[in-house]
Structure formats: structure tokens, C-alpha cells
Symmetry: C2
Subunit: 138 residues, 2 copies
DNA sequence: TAAACTGTAAGCATTAAGATTACAGTACTC
DNA sequence: GAGTACTGTAATCTTAATGCTTACAGTTTA
């Protein structure tokens, strides 16, 4: 599991906390503790899905383009990390004569797909606003 | 996400399919498509949790020690892969003066812990027997 | 036209995942 | 009790995934 989803959530929460001005990739990167190129890559995907607006040139950067109360983590997961619940490596061999070996891949695939469905159902309940509220709790 | 959980499920389903005799690590490894040492490492954990019995020496190997209808994937996940839903890398910096940066780690931790809780709830519904039934479907 | 930004990609470094090898310990068989 | 076929476990090596750095073209503003 890589951490692009976590970075996206962090970045969006940060933008929700700065509703009135743009934040540069360098600013966000410092806050998240990573490098600007990585932030730009992730924000570029978020822009293509309409979560943020970007502006190039002087005074440019990123700004949230959604109501944080209506932006949930399932939407973010979907665009950034869909399909990452299942491991890259898979057991079994479809060519094997043993049914267990030959079908296991397919069965585990279904299990992970459904697991991801439930995972997203859970993430749907959490909005960027609720993340921000939790952060600001004393 | 590594694939030890998948390997454990595959191995246990295989054992459930061979209820009357022991399977060696080499046999299981061939079926799973990995190496015997890896199987032994995973099976050793499963033995410590009472899922399988092992026997050393000639004719030894592994045999299921649970009713496959009462052995669910949540139990397996718990013993093999607990805590792996959250990425190793974490955003933010607890020492940062910005609340978002300093608290994000803690908030994401909670989110991933609860996500794992829901994930396990889903896995509870799936038994080794049901995996085997799915495999044997035409 | 210079400065400050994004967009994107190539290449490098680090870390996690998986394979290999080795060998001690155990149980069975002759 | 010696040989064989297993598990248990650890050390080391290889490969693949992850993250970082650098670079530069494109865009906007001053």
C-alpha cells in the first residue's frame, strides 16, 4: 500500500483550511513532508477530477474546488488508489490441474473486490470537513 | 500490501480439500507457486494459533485442525496481517506548528484503524469452507 | 522578458517483498 | 542407531515497489 491516498487527504484538508488563497506545491509538500514534484503529480490527478483548481504562473498553486462537507474520502480513494487493496503478487496457477490452485486467483480477486467495495462504503462516511474538524478538536 | 494473507487462505483451503492426510511444505508451495520456506514460515504462525497441526519427520507436514465451516478469513487476517492496511509512510510532522501537519498522522491512524475494523467485519462472513465451495463451483 | 508557478517525465536511491540456501531439530523406518 | 524426510528458523541475496531528485517545457503575471 503506497501513501498517495494519505497524501491526497492531507493536501485537501490543508486546502480546506486555507479556503481563500492558493497554496503552492512547495507549501503543501513542506506540510505533508514530501517533495513538490510528488504533490504536483497527485494534485494534477485531483484537478482532472474536479476536486481542486490549479493556476500556473506567479501567485499560482492549488485551491479546493468543492464544498469540503460534500467531498468524502471514498471519492478521493477512487481517483487515487482504486484497486490497491489486493496484493500485486497472486497465489496459484490457472494452468494447474488442481482446482484449488487454478481457481484460487479468481476467488481471491472477487474477495478483494468486494472488500474494496465495503472499504469504500466506510470511507464514504468521512468527509474532508470531518477530517478537519477532528484535527481541530482540542 | 504483501501477500501472506492470500497465501494463508490458499494453503488452508488446500488443506481443507485434503482433510485426511498431511501435506508437506513442498506440496503446498508448488500449489501456491512459491517456495517451501515461505510456506513453513506462514504455517508456523498458523500452528501457533491452532489453525493447523504440524508433524515433523517422515510422512509429516501440515493438516487442518479446525472445522473449515468455522474458520473465517478475519481470524486468518488477524493472525497474519493485522495492521497492514495503513501505509508505512506517514504524512505530516507532529512537531510542526501547523495543526493540520501536526495532527494529520493521528487522525489518519484512527481512520485506518476503523477501516481495518470494518474490513475484518467483512472477512468474518467468509469461511474457508465457503472459499472451497466457490472454487468447486462449475 | 524575467520571475514564479504547474505539468510531466526520466533516472536514482531506498525500502519492502520474495527467493534461496543452509542447517539444527524431530520423527519415522529399516 | 543410522539414514531419510520432514519442520523451524535465520541469514543472505534478488527483485520489485516506493519515494526522491533533477530537469525542463509551458503558463501566467508583473
Amino acid at each position: 500500500m503506497n501513501s498517495e491516498f494519505t497524501i491526497a487527504v492531507h493536501s485537501l484538508a490543508l486546502l480546506a483550511n486555507l479556503p481563500d488563497h492558493m497554496a503552492s506545491s512547495e507549501h503543501i509538500a513542506k506540510n505533508v513532508c514530501t517533495n513538490p514534484a510528488r504533490i504536483r503529480k497527485i494534485m494534477s490527478i485531483l484537478r482532472k477530477h474536479g476536486f481542486v483548481r490549479t493556476k500556473e504562473g506567479i501567485g499560482g498553486g492549488y485551491i479546493l474546488d468543492r464544498d469540503p462537507r460534500e467531498l468524502n474520502l471514498a471519492q478521493i480513494y477512487e481517483t487515487i488508489s482504486s484497486g490497491t487493496l489486493k496484493p500485486h503478487w497472486c497465489t496459484g496457477d490457472p494452468e494447474d490441474t488442481c482446482v484449488v490452485s487454478s481457481k484460487m486467483h479468481c476467488v481471491m480477486d472477487q474477495i478483494f473486490n468486494q472488500a474494496e467495495f465495503h472499504y469504500k462504503k466506510y470511507l464514504e462516511q468521512i468527509t474532508i470537513q470531518s477530517v478537519l474538524d477532528q484535527i481541530k478538536q482540542p
